[in-house]
């Protein structure tokens, strides 16, 4: 099981702050993962449709779309950060 975390409007559109999911073994990159997750229901498709405006962290470290999942236990999806 992998812990998925959603923030900001990704959280609002999916309607969840976090959930646990089994990610199929054939999903090995961040890009594949986003594609797979967007097929899990309308709210996921709606939240993840604009991939260019999404950011992903694996185990709390930012990664790019081509990064391997590498068995991450925590995957977070969110829009570009607006701190400070």
């Amino acid at each position: 099981m992998t812990k998925l975390l959603y923030f900001s409007w990704v959280r609002e559109r999916i309607g969840l702050a976090s959930e646990e999911r089994d990610i199929p073994a054939e999903i090995t990159s961040v890009e594949q993962f986003l594609n797979w997750l967007s097929q899990q229901g309308d709210q996921y498709e709606n939240a993840l449709t604009d991939a260019a405006s999404l950011r992903v962290a694996l185990d709390q470290t930012h990664v790019t779309a081509d990064a391997p999942l590498n068995g991450a236990r925590e995957i977070a999806i969110f829009p570009p950060m607006t701190g400070g």
Binding site: F7, Q60, A76, P79, P80, T82, G83
Partner: protein
């Protein structure tokens, strides 16, 4: 970096700049310079407040990483980052970054650098609340904030990863 006083706090509560920076200065006895930056929820005709969301755990570790970069890059003695979360009214302070150093230019550069990276590399998101009542939209990231990182050369890449 254990010989550098560093305080990182993510909190809902307001705070006192004098008290927070005084503590940092006391722990940096050889510092002749203190530079602090406060980010304020600025007045706007349509805005009543911001709500700040963050990614617990990653927010602290990203800020620590940014502070460590600054400590490696300049002769800084100590650093303080307080980032508020939750509802923040117009006029209130959202974030405080303070840096002590023997050299004033190092203190200015260090605080400036930490702020630039906090803007685009620390997992916080801002939602607007409207003066007329109700929620507004999420604040978009600014391209100018992303561009600001390239001012810091090779460090931009290192903190990015």
């Amino acid at each position: 970096m254990s010989d550098h006083p560093v305080k990182i706090s993510i909190q809902q509560e307001q705070f006192d700049i004098q008290a927070e920076t005084e503590f940092l200065v006391k722990k940096s006895p050889n510092a002749g310079a203190l530079v602090s930056f406060s980010g304020i929820c600025r007045a706007d005709d349509t805005l009543s407040a911001l709500e700040l969301e963050h990614y617990p755990g990653m927010a602290e570790s990203q800020i620590q990483k940014i502070v460590d970069e600054a400590l490696a890059k300049w002769p800084i003695q100590g650093a303080l980052v307080i980032h508020r979360v939750g509802k923040i009214a117009v006029g209130e302070t959202i974030v405080l970054v303070a840096v002590t150093s023997a050299h004033r230019h190092a203190a200015f550069d260090g605080a400036n650098f930490i702020m630039d990276f906090l803007k685009s590399r620390a997992p916080f998101w801002k939602k607007e609340y409207l003066a007329e009542g109700g929620e507004g939209s999420w604040v978009d990231a600014k391209e100018s904030d992303e561009d600001a990182l390239s001012r810091w050369d090779q460090n931009a890449d290192r903190t990015n990863s």
